[in-house]
């Protein structure tokens, strides 16, 4: 083992060292932008300087060979610069309009679809899943790949009313965050407790404190201190599992997939919104999750057909109403859709605003 070295606590690198010179030159001086075609942005500075961005999808979990090929392309077309977006898309920039078409060709030849700009379906947020996390109910890379295959056309075309942000999360913790459509694991049975392991490896007070509904209490089984779950109270959230893996929440059958819609971070037009449950109980059907893809496509088709320009998913449903959304998508409405969490009353219809 090499001799131990004190780290250089250098913090965050300076972006300007990695930026296309045209961006450095016009830093903070951009005037407007448009999109000459799907996948391409044109940003124009106050002084007229122009930069073209070609945006391409990626598999996020990149192997070094892929990254090197990406670098080759950036060297060839973009003076050796590249950036990634907050959604793991790749942005290739050039000041030379004539390079745009060949660049696109080159990217697509290498297998990287160009698109994801404007009112398209962007790259799905990507988490860890079975590839790396210690608590996943499903995979992440596989779900994203399977879905992006299905949504390929929508990535490459700007045919949606507004941007569509899809997120996936491989457990109820939901590292993927809020989305226009969020595809999240939803457990449906309380954890099965391995009592021997609990007494050995769990810090019990911590686990008890983690439960949102106080369903866990200390217990003694076979003379050993362990935990027990009040199954009537338990909401199967899985929050006890990370601090205490013997509280087995994952289950090949009962860890289902739920789809939520209408999450929104932006304060654009409407205030930010949390995503809302629309379907649960979908099977965790690796390797291609066809049932999930089906529902997502149904939702997108309805949105595409019916929403108006600039309406995000949540705004569209707000206008046409949830009754019509369920009607258009053919999804079942159940008592579970009625919010009963703290403050859930504010999700009831306390008005005479009605949609027929």
């Amino acid at each position: 083992m090499s001799e131990l070295r004190r780290p250089i606590e250098s913090g965050v690198p300076d972006s300007k060292n990695f930026m296309h010179p045209m961006l450095v030159k016009n830093y903070g001086q951009w005037a407007w932008h448009d999109r000459p075609q799907p996948g391409v942005l044109r940003h124009v500075a106050k002084n007229g300087d122009t930069i073209y961005t070609v945006k391409a999808g990626s598999q996020r979990q990149l192997d070094v060979f892929a990254i090197r090929e990406i670098c080759d392309i950036a060297d060839e077309f973009c003076e050796g610069y590249i950036r990634f977006t907050v959604r793991s898309s790749m942005e290739f920039m050039t000041t030379d309009e004539t390079k745009v078409a060949p660049l696109i060709k080159r990217l697509e030849a290498a297998g990287y679809p160009v698109g994801g700009t404007g009112n398209s379906v962007g790259l799905i947020s990507h988490t860890q899943g079975w590839l790396h996390c210690d608590i996943p109910g499903t995979d992440a890379s596989g779900v994203v790949k399977a879905l992006m295959d299905e949504l390929f056309h929508e990535f490459k075309h700007e045919e949606m009313p507004n941007r569509v942000k899809i997120t996936t999360s491989c457990c109820q913790i939901n590292c993927g965050g809020q989305g226009d459509i969020a595809i999240n694991v939803q457990h449906t049975k309380p954890p099965v407790i391995n009592h021997d392991l609990v007494s050995m490896i769990c810090e019990r007070p911590t686990v008890v404190a983690r439960c949102p509904v106080a369903a866990i209490r200390p217990a003694v089984v076979n003379g050993k201190p362990t935990l027990e779950v009040d199954e009537k109270k338990c909401v199967c959230c899985g929050a006890c599992y990370p601090p205490c893996p013997p509280m087995q929440i994952n289950d090949p059958i009962n860890s289902k997939i739920a789809i939520w819609v209408g999450g929104k971070h932006s304060s654009t037009r409407s205030k930010p919104a949390f995503h809302k449950l629309v379907v649960a109980g979908l099977p965790n059907n690796a390797p291609r999750w066809p049932e999930v893809a089906e529902v997502v496509k149904q939702i997108l088709a309805a949105y595409k057909q019916d929403a108006r320009p600039w309406e995000r998913m949540n705004e569209w449903i707000g206008r046409i109403g949830w009754p019509r959304f369920f009607e258009m998508t053919g999804l079942p409405f159940t008592k579970y859709h009625i919010d009963n969490w703290r403050g859930g009353r504010s999700n009831l219809n306390a008005s005479t605003h009605l949609h027929f």
Binding site: V235, G344, T352
Partner: protein
């Protein structure tokens, strides 16, 4: 010889100014030829002046009623009866008027005559719930006054833990917006519950209110446990010529500002020829555009009611607005009315069986959850009941498939 008028320097200040003064009215009563009532009101003026001086009230409750009924009289005994003996008792009789407060002068005069003879002559038209309040009766006069009022065709209103006196907006009697017959609906329901008005035995009070449209002129939204509104299911009725006239009147920009821009769901657009483009699927029946364009727009023809449950004031958990429990129901035929009555009884039976003491309907629903409430009442789930589905994943979903199946079955049956 009658009592001396008390000095009321503070109250006198309420005789100045242009608005009609209740103090002047009280003085008229105090000076009236009926010595008993006159003395009572003189005494009342004295007590009221004391309240104004000390900034405190001096009434306490008690038990007074009429034969056969358990509620409807609000008893008031003075805590300063030693100083103001003639108003030691100052009870109120709550009497139910016709829906929407219609009167002929004959009835009003008859009521006045009774109240001059047996009460103080002070009448509140009306209480916030909707009662005629005959105010200022001594215990010995209560039954007498009541007998006469009752003989005239008026009945006692609600108080205590029972059904309360109701209110309806003027509705079809004089309003073009009315989507159902508020007056008949109120009479039908309340008449069916007279027993619960007169012999209160519910966990707590329960109020019905009736508004003919979303404008809610009866304040049903937050001031009634069971609020019934008019609405429509089909397309609104548009007279495009009148729209053009309105655009011409307001000017294009202002028409856009006042009509197009103010629609809560962007259901309206102005065509280039100044006609209106209504997206009825997006319309939430809020009434705004119809209010602005009274001649050009009207509710649709397929009208009916929406029922919202659980409105009330703040006690215990904070104010509640009624939330939608029945999104739409026709209310035209006799069968429709019967269905409504049957439903109203289900509401009240469930309330009687499940609410805690002093718990209002809205508080009970908050405690047990809307889904359980609906299940308890055997009411079908409907998406108009929610403004949006749950935003929190903390829910146990074992029963999903079964619930989804139920919904699909219902949809299939409805489609057949």
């Amino acid at each position: 010889m009658s009592k001396k008028m008390p000095a009321t320097p503070l109250l006198d200040q309420l005789e100045s100014g242009p608005w009609p003064s209740f103090v002047t009215g009280l003085k008229r009563l105090a000076n009236s030829k009926d010595a008993r009532a006159g003395d009572q009101v003189k005494s009342l003026l004295g007590q009221l002046e004391l309240s104004y001086e000390t900034r405190k009230g001096y009434w306490k409750g008690g038990t007074v009623g009429v034969f056969g009924y358990g509620a409807g009289v609000i008893p008031r005994f003075s805590e300063v009866a030693d100083k103001y003996p003639e108003s030691a008792e100052f009870h109120t009789l709550r009497i139910m008027p016709a829906p929407a407060f219609f009167y002929d002068t004959k009835s009003l005069r008859d009521i006045c005559d009774v109240w001059e003879e047996h009460g103080s002559g002070l009448i509140a038209l009306h209480g916030q719930s909707g009662d005629i309040m005959l105010q200022g009766c001594t215990t010995d006069q209560v039954q007498k006054a009541w007998d006469k009022i009752n003989a005239m065709g008026f009945d006692m209103g609600g108080a205590g833990a029972g059904i309360r006196t109701s209110a309806a907006c003027v509705g079809p009697a004089r309003c073009e917006h009315a989507c159902y017959d508020t007056l008949t609906a109120m009479k039908t329901i309340i008449d069916d519950f007279v027993d619960d008005i007169h012999r209160p035995s519910l966990p707590y009070k329960a109020k019905f209110k009736f508004s003919g449209c979303a404008n809610d002129c009866s304040n049903a939204t937050q001031r009634s446990d069971y609020a019934i509104f008019g609405t429509w299911r089909d397309d609104m009725v548009v007279n495009q010529d009148e729209i053009k006239a309105k655009v011409a009147q307001l000017g294009r920009k202002e028409f856009i500002n006042q009509v197009i821009r103010m629609c809560p769901t962007q259901a309206l657009a102005l065509n280039d020829d100044d006609t209106l483009d209504v997206d009825n699927k997006s319309c939430v029946r809020c009434m705004h555009c119809i209010n602005v364009c009274t001649k050009a727009l009207s509710p649709g023809n397929d009208r009916g009611i929406t029922i919202r449950v659980g409105g009330k004031r703040t006690l215990k958990i904070g104010d509640l607005m009624g939330t939608v429990v029945v999104p739409f129901m026709k209310l035209d035929t006799e069968e429709d009315y019967e269905a409504l009555l049957e439903l109203a009884h289900r509401f009240l039976d469930f309330f009687a069986d499940n609410a805690l003491e002093h718990e209002r309907t809205g508080e009970m629903i908050e405690r047990i959850g809307l889904a359980n409430y609906l299940e308890g009442l055997d009411l079908p789930l409907d998406l108009n009941m929610i403004s949006q589905p749950r935003t929190n994943s903390y829910v146990r979903l074992d029963g999903w498939d079964e619930e989804a199946r139920k919904w699909s079955e219902r949809q299939t049956n409805a489609a057949e």
